[in-house]
């Protein structure tokens, strides 16, 4: 095979690979956007909280054991840990209230 033909084949291979990469990337981005996953992505660029904005969930690896007897003590422990998560939810000030979109808030 002549060197010219080899160079030509290499060029075609390069162009083909780049084209396939671009097409698959565009398709996956369209699917990512249209499926709504973009809005649920916790690592979405520009939407990550700043360090002072982070409101961490209570740091515990507690999981209620799915086997064992149902006793008063077990339920007490359950309620205590459960309440921590509920308190965390209640600390979020009126999530999705209508105020920020009102005419007054937006200056309309």
């Amino acid at each position: 095979m002549s060197p010219n033909r080899t160079n030509h084949n290499l060029l075609v291979l390069g162009i083909l690979s780049v084209s396939i990469a671009i097409i698959t990337t565009v398709v996956s981005l369209v699917v990512y956007h249209n499926s709504g996953d973009i809005y649920l992505d916790r690592s979405r660029p520009g939407f990550l909280p700043d360090e002072d904005e982070v409101q961490k969930l209570p740091e515990t690896n507690y999981t209620f054991p799915s086997s064992g007897a149902i006793t008063e003590e077990a339920l007490n422990e359950y309620i205590e840990h459960f309440q921590e998560v509920v308190d965390y939810i209640d600390d979020l000030e009126s999530p999705f209230s209508s105020a920020p979109l009102s005419d007054e808030s937006l200056g309309i």
Binding site: G46, F64, V85, V86, I89, P95, L101
Partner: protein
């Protein structure tokens, strides 16, 4: 004499009509006096900031709901079944929480899409279109807010049911 009564009455009625105009009744035909056109940049800035805050709140709420279901409610119901003490009320609440959480995810997605559309629309050139999109975004936000409240109520109901179960066990121990 009649003139002194009728004139202030007419002025009063006109004033009342003017002051009771709904806030949303914007004059879209006059771009010079349209607050959407005037405050377009600041409105968009507020919406961008709200979009960021909402994404964060959704993430916090989503993690909490996930933890509540995965680390608490599901294992408790499994344990009740394996201990031969199934509780219908807790099982019903479990499925209601799962369903409402699904609604929360889809309603948040729908609201976020609407807010994205609103941010992409032209408030300088098409204020009326912008306002219509704003009204739609408000509607979707209200739906989402109601679902968030419903979920919080269901979680409270679950906690009450567990307390009740605990008290029943306590009473049994005392009786034995």
């Amino acid at each position: 004499m009649k003139r002194y009564i009728v004139l202030p009455a007419i002025v009063g009625i006109l004033l009342a009509i003017f002051l009771s105009r709904p806030a949303s009744a914007l004059d879209m035909t006059d771009p010079d006096n349209n607050p959407i056109v005037h405050n377009c940049a600041s409105i968009k800035q507020s919406l961008r900031s709200l979009q960021r805050t909402d994404a964060r709140v959704r993430s916090y709420l989503g993690s909490s709901y996930e933890r509540i279901l995965g680390s608490f409610i599901t294992p408790l119901n499994l344990r009740l079944v394996s201990a031969n003490q199934p509780n219908t009320n807790l099982t019903t609440l479990h499925s209601e929480i799962v369903d409402t959480r699904k609604n929360f995810i889809s309603e948040y997605t729908s609201y976020a899409q609407s807010l994205d559309d609103l941010l992409a629309s032209d408030c300088y050139g098409h204020p009326e279109d912008f306002y219509n999109k704003l009204v739609e975004t408000r509607r979707r936000r209200d739906v989402l807010s109601t679902t968030t409240t419903n979920l919080r109520n269901l979680i409270a109901e679950h906690l009450t049911a567990v307390r009740k179960l605990k008290n029943t066990l306590g009473a049994k121990d005392v009786a034995e």
